[in-house]
Symmetry: C2
Subunit: 229 residues, 2 copies
DNA sequence: GTCTATAGGGGGATAGAC
DNA sequence: GTCTATCCCCCTATAGAC
């Protein structure tokens, strides 16, 4: 059950990055806390950026695989048109489940991941983006089929809002404490988060849209007004 | 029209913090870009943390005043029960309007503010929290009155989701590009964001809740079961 | 109010011994 | 694979001249 130097570095770095952010966590802090030598990070990961990428690789890739697996199951059950709430659960569920995995560090990683969506660091952006493209490519058409009344751009915005709400929940923001003002959220209530979040998101993404109905656009040209082809 | 050293530092710091984050922006970078001396930050703001607080003070306080002003107007128009969509617009509007103020740096600040909700830095958390408490204290009862069917804890979560979606939108996340995959969002469409966001949030916050209906709680005591008073 | 100079502490990365 | 030692950089904060 001996844990390798590499794994110890990953675990400790995940914890410190999660608690203080990437920029504010030094390699010295990581190697000290892990009880390994400073040079070990460069040996195993090449650089601090390499370590950051490895951390996302280790947890985000399996999480996204799980999302795709659940989508495939839904496609087998429902065919092309999947109920919206089921799509949301397939997308949101793996993240929230990982966040309950306190002992194995999953919770720490999820906090890190939530923040990474708004992180300015290019390294972090690139890592998350490269591992999330496939998920978007698969889920977006599925949502589109489930929400045929939503015009294309509106759908993009709705998905944007959905990802944003999830990212915020993942980040474990302290603002919840401000809103709840002392009210302690029980662990058992934390388990209701998937239900609460799905109810909110499903209603939001299916909201009636005031988007003007698709009109034939008019083009003004050379003195006369005519419908564009 | 001469801009004081203090204002130049604030403007440049806002821009650099917005682009690279707090931890990754040094005082040297700020003072160089502002064309002022390194020691000027410490003279005018005491420390880097003091500068951070001053930046939030300058923009967040007026923005929150505006939110409260709009809430007061709504209370005069509607009394205690204000339509949910109006409450959302009063809360979200000032932030989105500030984000369109490109020339005066408002847009940069809003990106910064959006990220600050998930920022691990204690200084940032404390600054935002101290300037947002009053807004929460005033809006929460208004939402509660507008949504009497929502049980207390459910309301906290719904507000949490609302703040999260807004924070994500403010942060100007790059993920929108991934979702839209090359589709360019026109400035005119950007102006529709308040409408889109309000539709999404209003539907989400009013979603039917599967929360067990309020039952008379039963108290087990001294051998008999009876409804609690 | 604004500057220079410097104190005093980390930062990431790497060469080379073991 | 792991260590020590070190290079050379940047960091914030402050003392004291102007």
């Amino acid at each position: 059950m001996a844990q390798s130097t590499k794994d110890r570095i990953l675990d400790v770095a995940e914890q410190l990055f999660s608690g203080h952010g990437f920029g504010a966590t030094s390699m010295r802090a990581i190697t000290n806390a892990a009880g390994v030598n400073l040079a070990a990070v460069n040996y195993h990961f090449g650089s601090k950026d390499g370590l950051v990428r490895a951390i996302f690789e280790r947890r985000l890739s399996p999480m996204n695989e799980e999302r795709l697996r659940r989508l495939r199951i839904l496609e087998q059950e429902h065919g092309a048109v999947i109920p919206v709430a089921e799509l949301i659960k397939a997308f949101v569920g793996p993240a929230l489940e990982l966040s309950r995995d306190e002992s194995a560090g999953g919770a720490r990683f999820v906090r890190l991941l939530g923040r990474s969506y708004t992180e300015p660091s290019e390294t972090v952006q690139a890592a998350v983006r490269s591992m999330s493209g496939q998920v978007i490519d698969r889920f977006k058409p599925a949502f589109s089929a489930a929400l045929p009344e939503l015009e294309g751009e509106e759908l993009c915005w709705r998905l944007h809002f959905l990802v944003g709400t999830l990212a915020y929940c993942m980040s474990g923001s302290n603002m919840m404490r401000l809103i709840a003002s002392g009210r302690i959220t029980e662990p058992t209530e934390q388990e209701r988060l998937l239900i609460r979040l799905t109810e909110f998101l499903a209603a939001g993404i299916q909201a009636p849209s005031s988007e003007e109905p698709v009109r034939t656009p008019f083009v003004v040209a050379a003195g006369h007004v005519r419908p564009s082809s």
